[in-house]
């Protein structure tokens, strides 16, 4: 158990440290694609540092929930990070590999709990933008969750476990045979959900200043200073974790630095994909989001059917 805790701690530290870099990378790519110089890829670290030194404005209408929510969000995200095995940690400490707790359902619902904290905080200040943001976030979440569980189920059934480490082991042993028709459909379903869950175009627009269109940004509009830093860090960590999970259920990573390198490369490539989608697609009407999520759900259903037909 101690071993697992230590591995988990390392994974969480890695996520804390590397998540802003991934965010900076995606932002830098977007700027390049749009013909801008853009901020450096280290800007998210500078932003965190800046926020953490600033004072905070807290609306007089808020309750303790408003102050507790950022901590709750970051805590659940860190715990989720502890559950998720990382090829990088496995490469650095081969002795510890396989020691991650890696419970997939727990992981998913820890992130959902963080989202719950944020939605409450959005409502707490009583401003209409926060309320709209929370309501939209829950709307998207309610649609994304069944699709996510369904797609994950296909993979969990084949691995015979809900443990991510064990799923990873199955993927490794199966090698490229893992890429069956049914699994490809599941990967695709998860890709749509990753875009939705990271709050990116076409579901949400992370760069907008238009309050009326905001989802995630609407919820955190009232935050400033250190609380904002906590929220931003947690959100970037969530993005890191989701992309991690997606890659790990998909690609048969072996152990060692070569695979760790491959993992980083793939992560960077996924960043390119996200930046491409974000630059070239318009945000869909919020009432079209169910169709997107519905498509993802159908892909999940098809994946499940394909699995039993095979």
């Amino acid at each position: 158990m101690t071993m697992e805790l230590w591995t988990g701690a390392l994974q969480a530290v890695l996520a804390l440290v590397a998540a802003p870099l991934l965010q900076g990378w995606i932002k830098w790519l977007k700027a390049q694609m749009q013909g801008r110089h853009g901020p450096s890829i280290w800007q998210p670290y500078r932003d965190l540092f800046k926020y953490s030194r600033k004072g905070e404005v807290i609306s007089g209408h808020t309750s303790w929930i408003f102050r507790a929510a950022p901590v709750g969000l970051l805590t659940t995200t860190v715990v989720a990070a502890m559950l998720l095995p990382s090829p990088l940690v496995a490469a650095a400490l081969p002795a510890m590999s396989g020691a991650a707790i890696g419970e997939l359902l727990l992981f998913v619902y820890l992130l959902a709990m963080g989202r719950f904290c944020l939605a409450l905080a959005g409502l707490d200040a009583g401003s209409s933008f926060g309320g709209m943001g929370s309501s939209r976030e829950m709307y998207v979440a309610a649609l994304a969750e069944p699709a996510l569980i369904l797609a994950a189920l296909v993979l969990m059934i084949d691995a015979g476990t809900t443990n991510l480490t064990a799923i990873g082991e199955t993927v490794r042993q199966a090698g490229w045979d893992w890429w069956s028709a049914s699994h490809l459909l599941a990967f695709l379903a998860l890709a749509v959900l990753v875009v939705a869950e990271t709050g990116r175009v076409p579901v949400d627009n992370p760069d907008t200043h238009l309050e009326l269109t905001m989802i995630h940004e609407g919820m955190i509009l009232e935050y400033s200073g250190p609380s904002l830093a906590l929220i931003q860090l947690a959100v970037w960590m969530k993005q890191w974790l989701l992309l991690n999970v997606w890659l790990q259920v998909m690609v048969p990573f072996g152990q060692g630095w070569m695979f760790a390198g491959l993992f980083c490369l793939l992560l960077a490539l996924v960043g390119v994909g996200l930046a491409l989608v974000e630059s070239f697609f318009a945000k869909v009407r919020i009432f079209r989001v169910p169709r997107m999520m519905g498509a993802s759900l159908m892909l999940g259903v098809l994946a499940l059917l394909a699995r039993f037909v095979q």
């Binding site: 009326l212 269109t213 318009a282 009407r285």
Partner: protein
Amino acid sequence: MIRKVLSAWVSLKSDRQGNLWGTVLPEQGPEVAQVVHGQLGLPLTMMVAVDERAKSGVYRLTYLFSLIDKPAFLALEMAVDGQAAEYPSWTPAVPAANWHEREARDLLGVVPVGHPDPRRLVLHGNWPHGYHPLRQDAPSEVAATAPRRFSFRPPGEEAMQIPVGPIHAGIIEPGHFRFTAVGEQIQALEANLFYTHRGIEKWCEGKPVMTVLAAAERLCGVCSLTNSLAFCQAVEAIAKVEVPPAARYGRVLLCELERLYNHIGDLGNICAGTAVALGTMAGTRIKEQLQQLNDALTGSRFLRGILVPGGLRRPLAAEGIDKVLREVRRDAAMLADTLLGHASFMDRLDHTGIVDRATAWRLGAVGVAARASGIDRDCRRDHPHAAYHELRWQVPVHQEGDVAARLKVRIEEIEQSLSLIEQARAALLAMATTTTTTMKPGDWAAVIDEYPAGRGWGVAESPRGETVHWLEIDAQGLVSRYRVRTGSYANWPVVVAAVPGNMVPDFPLINKSFELCYACSDR
């Protein structure tokens, strides 16, 4: 025809430019309004009220209608008793008079009786009650009172109110929008503008014409040239001056440059409303290129300081502009093609923020907003000025009235503007080489030695629509009354009408498809 129909109420006289003038009795106003707007179908251009109590004991109100089959206007004057200061409102018959009458009530204290919306408009609740700054006897300083709240209409059962502004997240001007929504569906919208009333029209009273020109150019940032053009034309109408050809073509060129940088910037802004960052950036880049061209050509990125009554302040060195314009033509066409072929982008625009033709007509929409709703009006063609009637161009019109239609009208107008600039440039170059080897000052500006007393107006088509400047000059040659009605002022009520029935996150997109200016209201 008009004379005959109106003969029961007014006898009309025509002036040198073909404008028809008549005097209406206040009690017959609504009847006349019904005939002029409802029966003859003339759109209201502006209404201006003047305090003439010192001279004749009355407030003089002038309703200016556009004659749709002639380039001239119909001016109906009405003397409102200075003591009672009341008259029957024309707004029930001419809805476009709504803001004009409320503005006159706030600034001059002439009350339109029977107006359907008697709330304050220009002067918010923190202005003292009974203080009307445009009255000649109004004290120049007055203490603000405690703010009184604007009374928005209450929401119905199960509806939610969403207040937005007056301070916004982007770098834009103040304006408060109050949405009544059920879930994401907007049921009603009210806009409270006029937050930063600057008293420019009051300030201009008693100032020399050239000083007022400087103020006219600074009414707003993005339509500086159109405002100065309309102002100069108002002065020229009063002074009865002919503008030399070089200046007329130069004015076309400048006016179209203004339209070009605005329209291209607006394509980018519409992209921002749908999160297509690529389009936003392309629009911003081309706009910057054009503003640098403005700077190189006139010394001002906003085309200020180049027009004077009578013509241009100096000749335009238009030879070198074609290189930049070729690039702009290529890049703008590419941006337009990309946007029109962008499925997920156009999906957001189609059927969003629809203004049907009847609504647009009723509210007096002008400019792109009108032309996207099937109203074929463009004062560059309908009230010819500068050299527009000597050039070959078209007025694009679309019928759908949605955001997509407004985008398409802009895209087609960009092509027309580029063509107009090219023609005007060619004409200027021909003049410079054939007529005179060295141009004399008289070639680009008529000299106006003194400004005769009188009143007149000038119209010009800004990127946002028809802009009208009303000017009165007194016996000393100083400005005695000045009022501006820009395209934005005419179109704000149309924005408000376009929104209900859409969903909340579509409002920024709809708003950007009109791209109106707040400063134009905050005069």
